[in-house]
């Protein structure tokens, strides 16, 4: 007997969590890149 509630939790929520985590990470990486490039270009301008 398959516990479809558990399957929904593992498969549905599992895929959702994976998408969420990696999407969040992509936003953070993008933001870090933005800030880093900004600070580096400001540093070069000061030089």
């Amino acid at each position: 007997m398959i516990d479809w509630g558990l399957v929904a939790k593992v498969a549905g929520a599992g895929f959702g969590v994976t998408m969420l985590v990696l999407t969040l990470l992509s936003v953070i990486v993008w933001l870090v890149g933005l800030v880093t490039r900004e600070s580096e270009s400001q540093g070069e301008e000061k030089k």
């Binding site: 593992v10 994976t18 990696l22 990470l25 936003v27 990486v29 870090v32």
Partner: protein, 381 residues
């Protein structure tokens, strides 16, 4: 033998002979066809060793303590999950996150390509339900089978060791065999789901330059974010990011070199031999093994398909279109999947050099599969 001791001939079964042929085939694939040779050769030789009877390499005492040489390796390296986790350390030291940092949206493609894992999980459960007398597939076994679709051997072993220890051998062989077969599996899936025009979509060959500071921050920030959200992914993600930090920090070259070369090679030998040694005739020649091999290919193909479809979906919203083939590289099989995309991209458009674009989702696939493993272990472990 000459009345002095028992030779192994009398103990040889038909099952052993079939397994010896399988071991020989795996070594053939590795040596003659150069398919994942670093793993298929040790696995094949491990299969050979364990199916020559009376060698006692995987012998375990009545108290469950290992006696045989490879039983010790299996207990110490696989059952404890040390080897798969430390292989991630080596992988991290060998990985350049540059393409992923330059184009962070490829992380989403890596996540989307995990769909096949969950799809195969459901199919595995349904197959298990259809043949309850023949197969023993509950949710834990189905999850361990599904993770084959991530196309990441160490993660598949890591997950199976905890969720379905009896299936570790067949799951590992299935994952590594299909990883070796990526050049055969991916092209038909890509051709089925993309038009010629889509395959010819041009992407500028040069990605933006990624600074050292960005490369340095990625493993630290990445580990913190993923482990905070999915704590059970810590052994894999933690080691992966630590290995990468060793490589990019610029001050630990010796450690990075050891992690990426000597240490990685030792682990690969131990992993391959002990996985092969787990494939005795009694444990491998079961109906379940064939079913798992079949489900593995479904998981692989679905993962690649999901990556392509997600890339096509993203194209609806992106100003600068991406070539949907790079979504198929969301499979973790690094760098094989990227190479396939590169070759197909060149065929469709001679100006297209997609290798670095495909490396982004490819590496994201490794992170994605490790995250899925953490989710599975968090819910089911």
């Amino acid at each position: 033998m000459f009345g002095l001791y028992e030779s192994a001939f009398g103990a040889l079964t038909w099952g052993n002979i079939v397994m010896l042929l399988i071991g020989g085939f795996l070594m053939y694939l590795g040596i003659a066809r150069k398919m994942e040779p670093l793993l298929l050769v040790p696995i094949g030789f491990g299969v050979l060793l364990i199916n020559l009877p009376l060698g006692g390499l995987m012998e375990v005492g009545a108290d469950g303590e290992p006696i045989g040489l490879l039983a010790w390796v299996f207990r110490g390296g696989i059952t404890t999950e040390l080897i798969p986790a430390f292989i991630f350390l080596g992988l991290g030291a060998m990985t350049d996150f540059g393409p992923l940092i330059a184009n962070p949206k490829t992380l989403i493609l890596g996540a989307g390509a995990q769909f096949g894992v969950f799809f195969a999980l459901i199919i595995a459960l349904l197959v298990g339900r259809a043949f309850p007398d023949f197969l023993d597939i509950g949710i834990k076994q189905a999850a361990a089978i599904g993770i084959i679709g991530g196309a990441d051997g160490p993660t598949a072993i890591f997950t199976a060791t905890e969720l379905a220890p009896k299936l570790v051998g067949v799951i590992a062989v299935s994952a590594y065999t299909y990883m070796a077969l990526v050049p055969i599996i991916l092209p038909p899936v890509i051709r089925l789901l993309t038009t010629k025009e889509e395959r010819a979509i041009y992407m500028k060959p040069q990605l933006r330059k990624v600074s050292k500071r960005e490369k340095l921050l990625f493993p630290i920030v990445g580990a913190a974010v993923i482990i905070l959200l999915v704590p059970r992914s810590a052994p894999l993600i933690g080691m992966f990011m630590f290995g990468n930090l060793l490589a990019v920090s610029g001050v630990t070259e010796r450690l990075a070199d050891t992690a990426a070369n000597a240490f990685m090679n030792i682990l690969t030998i131990l992993l391959g031999l002990s996985i092969g040694a787990f494939m005795s005739a009694e444990s491998f020649l079961q109906g379940e093994s064939l079913v798992i091999l079949g489900l593995g290919i479904i998981a692989f193909a679905t993962s690649a398909a999901a990556g392509i479809l997600l890339a096509k979906l993203m194209n609806l919203f992106l100003k600068e279109k991406i070539n949907p083939m790079i979504g198929a590289a969301g499979l973790s099989a690094v760098p094989m999947a990227s190479r396939v995309v590169q070759v197909m991209g060149l065929k469709a458009n001679r100006r297209n050099y997609l290798l670095m674009h495909a490396m982004g989702p490819n590496i994201a696939g490794v992170i994605g599969t490790a995250t899925v493993a953490g989710v599975f272990l968090g819910i089911l472990g």
